[in-house]
């Protein structure tokens, strides 16, 4: 039997090699690997959320911080998936509404303006997902540009057995925005935010300024640490086992990758790209072939100058 060649670092259903996992939308839950402190943060999240009573009664806000590429988005997605699963077991429907995409635009807007814009957009998103009760639609629509009114009544706008998990645009360095949303939290609403620009001192400011009962759950991810690369590689290669055809990674290559790559995103991209290149060459893509450290570095070299005229 001829085995199909596969890229062991490709993730099904995602559009690019570094797209964050979306376990609430796809079967990605098993793809999380214990790297970047992500596992501990995930467990911490579960612990802080407890039996989710607080979420149902007063709402919660979660803030993930850490440098770019350390897995904040993937972690939040995993948290969202857990909440959905947990509540689903109790007959409560939790839905993720992603309000982040619309705000990846060329013009930055002031915090207050963005607050209104998100709220305005939220009406459309929730309506598309059938998250607005028909009898509340008119009121929501009328107040869609009034964040204070909308968030205060958001639970009431939804069917009683529904929970909203709202992925908010990044507040970037504006910690006050986190305080603002934490104040908006109402029962059956979970705000998920992430920032690669907020540091520990900003978190201290947030904790100082929010009311105790609305204090956000703060999750912090960091760069790769010793053992992360090996765990990640072992997981991805082992997942396919002998059911597919792909070259193996030498210990030396894994060690080199551990020295060169600082974040899980960097690692994922480098290995995905190296395997893809080897696959595109049509030869040398056998189970008994090896991907070397040099090959990984050469691939990075090639990618780094892409578009410079020398690639």
């Amino acid at each position: 039997m001829t085995l199909e060649p596969v890229n062991p670092f490709a993730v099904p259903h995602l559009h690019g090699p570094v797209q964050p996992l979306r376990p609430f939308a796809h079967d990605h839950d098993g793809l999380y690997v214990r790297v970047d402190d992500g596992e501990q943060q995930y467990l911490s999240f579960q612990r802080q959320m407890g039996d989710l009573r607080a979420l149902l009664e007063i709402g919660r806000t979660v803030l993930a911080i850490g440098e770019s590429g350390c897995g904040k988005t993937a972690l939040l997605h995993r948290c969202a998936a857990w909440v959905i699963a947990e509540l689903g077991g109790r007959g409560v429907t939790a839905k993720v509404v992603d309000a982040t995409r619309r705000f990846l635009v060329a013009r930055e807007m002031p915090s207050a303006e963005r607050l209104v814009a998100v709220c305005d957009h939220l009406y459309d998103l929730m309506r598309q997902d059938g998250l607005i009760r028909p009898d509340a639609d008119a009121e929501f629509k009328e107040n869609r540009r009034e964040p204070y009114r909308v968030y205060q009544n958001l639970g009431g706008f939804m069917p009683d057995d529904h929970v909203l998990i709202l992925l908010l645009p990044s507040p970037k360095e504006l910690w006050e925005e986190v305080v603002q949303y934490a104040g908006f939290a109402q029962g059956r609403v979970l705000f998920l935010m992430e920032s690669d620009m907020l540091a520990d001192e900003d978190v201290a400011r947030i904790r100082r300024d929010v009311a105790h009962f609305t204090e956000p759950v703060v999750l912090q991810v960091g760069p790769l640490v010793a053992g992360d690369v090996e765990r990640f590689v072992t997981d991805r290669l082992g997942r396919r086992g002998n059911t597919a055809r792909f070259p193996r990674l030498s210990d030396e290559a894994i060690a080199a990758a551990g020295r060169k790559f600082k974040t899980v995103a960097q690692l994922q991209l480098a290995l995905h790209s190296t395997y893809q290149s080897r696959m595109d060459r049509a030869t040398g893509y056998e189970n008994d072939a090896w991907v070397t450290a040099e090959e990984i570095l050469e691939d990075s070299e090639r990618r780094s100058v892409k578009g410079s005229g020398t690639s």
Partner: protein, 768 residues
Amino acid sequence: MSGGRGDGTPLRNPFSTMAVSRIVGFGEDLGTTDVTVETDAIRRAVTYLTEYLDAPPAERGGPESATVMLILGEHGSGKSHLARHLVRLAGARLSDETSSLHIEATADDVLHTYQRLLLQVGLDRVRARVNEFYADIVAEQLQDTGLASNAVELLRRREIEPRSVVRQLQLMESQLLRRVHRKLHDVTADARYGQALSLLLRPGFETAVWNWLTGLEPEGILVERGIATPIATDTDVLEAMGVLALLFGGERRRFLLVVDEFDKIFSAARDADRRVVPAFQEMLEVFTRAGACLVLCGHPDFVDMLDSSTVERVTHTVRMAGLSAAQVEQFVRLAQEAEFGSPRLEPFSVETAAYVAALTGGNPRKVIRMCHALYRMAHESPEGRVTDEMVRETARDQLGSLSTDEVVQAARRVLLHNGWTYQPDHYLALGRDSRVDFWLTFEDRTGGCAVVFTDSVLTEQDFTAVHRRTAAVRKAVPVAEVVVVVNGVVAVEPAARLRQVLGREPLVYSGRGFAEDFRAAVRAAARLLPGDPRRDPMGGVGQRIDQINRQQSSLYDFVEQLADHLDVMRTSSDRRLDAIQQHLAALDTGPGRVGAPSADPALPPEVARLFSDGLAALEEITQTELMVREAFDSAAPDVLEAAQRRQGSAGYLEAVGIAALLRQALLSFRDTVLRWYRTEHVPRFAEELPPSTADSLDEICRTYDAVVEYLPLHRLEPLVQLPPWSSRGGVVSELTRSTRRARLWQRLDNLSLHVRDTLVRAALSGQG
């Protein structure tokens, strides 16, 4: 002569008429069409700049090579030209164009100068420079990890975008951007600039950052990131200029900033804000720290505006001197080479070029203007060459100033204001040559001082004519000094000979400063006259007193004229204010004010009406403003004739003067009463005023009475007799004369008493 002639060939004049701001044929490429004549000043400035550009890069952390150069010179001495020359020179030697910037500070103030500078720099350059910091930081990180060595090289050579590398390798962008922010903070030594510039690397901030950098109010997205105030004050702006130097200078870079006419803007800024001087000092320090080259051009007086510690920061001072005859000749050759391809002096000659140099004092702007005119004249003349006569004619046209009559009048004013005894247009003996324009005698001196006016002294004949006149003066009055005033220019040779004959420089009329120069020349001449031994001391005192009286009389006339002028202005503005106040009162429909014809809504309406009625009665009989305005508006002969007739009528002018004074008294009375009403404690709904309050009001009323006490109000009658200007010529106006008179007296008689009683009554009743 190529370049055209009267044969129909179009003229190609190689001497640009736009020489005010640029030298002829000044091309974009250095060394191709540049016609710079290398003067000593240019040589020195170029040397200083070259030393700066060629200085070896400072060791890491060591002091950078920096230059602060002042280029000083009179108007038209070629400062702007030199400034551009330096920038082009730097541009030709520096491969990186972001290292060479130039701005001509034609703006009126520091802010606009900075804005022009920033626009020349442009957003692209600023962004590119910030990107360079980013590239260096990304390269550094890649090097540390040993990843992507090719990218490191390309980043350092600026051949690849750091953003692209970051994306391709999924580097930790947030950490890298934070490092750029810290770096920019360190470089600019200012948190706001560090923040703003680093935001240029993030999408969505560009417009806001650029707007703020150009002086606009910061947008919300900047305010919430700590940039809360605009770059608005002069000190802010000087700081911002320093930031640009730090951004584009330093780190082994070469940055040249030339600010032309800096003296003007600095002077204005310094007068407006005392903090500008230390801010300017700080800017010089920052430029030095940044290893930049700052060239400031200005008038020679500019140095006097700077204190010693600022001057210490100036590394080089270059003073512009006039072009020599040989340099003018060289300029003519170069300009024609730039235009026609080969250097030549024709249609000029060595002599005419030297003549031009002599008459213009070598001032490049004047040289160019004269050459331009002379070239055209030669082109249109049959002989096709520049002649001495053409040079003189052009000199008279371009360098002469006023008509002789105007110069004589200017001199007369000086003599009058100094109280000197003089006789105009005086013959000291028989014969035309002994005629002097002014003959001055002094009480304690024998002889006298002759003032002689002449047009430009350019030729031997011109000199001889002046010499003949000075000789005739001295022949007629052996003890005489002669002050020669030239309305035009003096060529070098005649000037030297005049100096020999006169024993002093001839005084060349130059509008501004002439009065001072002329006064000094007369005083100096008077001092050279011997004392008068026949004069007894008392006679001397008497003459001195006469002189003082004349001086005072002259001064008095002047002050009177000034006072009249001010009165007219004040009257006009007061009337406008009255009108505005009346409009405001009419608009005010609050309780107790409906229909009040108040001139000042703050006074009780009845009191305000007393004043406005009095003023209206005066206006009714004078209407001078209306008359003058109508005369100017229409300029019709009948209007002007009516105005003249009115002014010529018996007693009119005196009556107008009395009315004006009375009006002023009324206005002051009203204002003082208003102040009393606002500041004194006037109880409402009381039986009577407290004694001190009543006393102060009485005092005001008595003051008014005292002011108008000696005004002969009966002499207003000629105004009453005349029909009002607005209804002149009408029959009805004749019939209303008695009404006007009655109204006038009714409103002005016992006015102070009426005001006092009405005001007290109104105040106690709770009105107003």
